[in-house]
């Protein structure tokens, strides 16, 4: 027959086991970084805002083609990257059983990085953008799933209303595509350069 003291002992051991269990669990510190490192919180924020950027500029985007923005120099140049994956929806039709990234969408990526650069250069004001002209576009290399595309865009000339860009898409160190873009800016409010 159990005595009431034994029951108390038993209860106590249960509590002990519980505490031991709590002690063995590793505790997460609040400010500790993950071993992989923080993969660019800022760029992630910009990626989420990308659709809003195109909406602000009045550009009919098809789908956002930039994964990460590496470097911006306001009013001068921008570097962005895109990872090409086999699961992308347009690769289902271009072409069936033979996925090749459409050259036209590489051009679209260069256009989009130019637009992000424009957005960063004019922080305020109502701004409309129109792709006036495309020149000297050359597609030099097929881009296949698994490649890492790097877009770099540079301003070559600023005329009264038209900014001229030279865009380049690279895979590793090979140039995959090049283009000259002329983008017309229409100010419908107070806009100024930073």
């Amino acid at each position: 027959m159990k005595k009431p003291e034994d029951e108390k002992k038993g209860d106590f051991s249960v509590h002990l086991r519980y505490f031991r269990f709590r002690k063995e669990r590793p505790r997460l510190k609040r400010k500790e970084e993950s071993p992989i490192g923080n993969p660019g919180n800022e760029t992630k924020r910009k990626f989420l805002a990308m659709e809003e950027i195109f909406h602000r500029l009045g550009y009919p985007y098809s789908n956002v083609l930039l994964d990460r923005i590496e470097e911006i120099e306001g009013g001068e140049s921008l570097r962005a990257t895109k990872m090409v994956s086999a699961n992308e929806f347009f690769l289902a039709g271009h072409f069936p059983n033979e996925p090749i990234m459409p050259g036209v969408l590489t051009l679209e990526g260069m256009i989009q990085s130019a637009l992000v650069l424009i957005h960063e250069s004019f922080a305020r004001g109502i701004l409309k953008v129109f792709l006036r002209r495309v020149d000297r576009v050359r597609f030099k290399r097929a881009i296949l799933p698994g490649d890492r595309l790097e877009f770099s865009v540079k301003v070559t000339a600023k005329e009264e209303r038209i900014w001229k860009f030279h865009g380049r898409a690279q895979v590793g160190e090979e140039t995959a595509a090049e283009a000259d873009l002329h983008i017309q800016l229409d100010f419908r409010g107070v806009g100024f350069e930073i």
Partner: protein, 148 residues
């Protein structure tokens, strides 16, 4: 030429088949294609303009029809590979809108070995919207060997 026959020449399928019908065709010389813009398309979800880069693609597909139909006429059963090689001097006056039928005119102007240079124009009704030069590379491959 209806869409069924277009799909026999071009390898493009659903999200990237960007012409609906061929109105007139002279194989190896010029063609007129048509594209209808409607809300249901993936690039027009919630927007009203046809993105400028996709206009280039639908012009290039008309060019592919011009070259592909000629290759099929000369020797049926040949395979071919057409790729987009470049664009030069292409200008837009405005973007086509949802609910419009876009007419795409392409005419061969020069051929250098495997490179073909086209003059492309985009019309809506009687208004010219965009125009410029488009370069395609086109390589014929021999018909598949039955013994292999």
């Amino acid at each position: 030429m209806e869409n069924r026959e277009i799909q026999k020449i071009l390898p493009h399928r659903y999200p990237f088949l960007l012409i609906d019908r061929i109105l007139s065709l002279e194989p190896g010389k010029k063609a007129q294609g048509m594209k209808n813009l409607t809300e249901g398309e993936w690039f027009l979800h919630g927007h009203c303009h046809y993105p400028p880069s996709l206009i280039l693609e639908s012009l290039a597909q008309v060019g592919g029809i011009i070259l592909g139909s000629k290759a099929r006429e000369e020797s049926p059963g040949t395979g071919f590979i057409g790729l987009f090689a470049g664009v030069s001097n292409f200008t837009w006056l405005r973007y086509p809108r949802r609910g419009e039928a876009v007419t795409l005119k392409m005419e061969l102007s020069k051929s250098l070995a495997a490179l073909y240079r086209f003059n492309g124009e985009v019309w809506v009704d009687r208004e010219k919207i965009a125009g410029g030069e488009i370069l395609l590379s086109f390589i014929k491959t021999p018909p598949p060997n039955p013994s292999a």
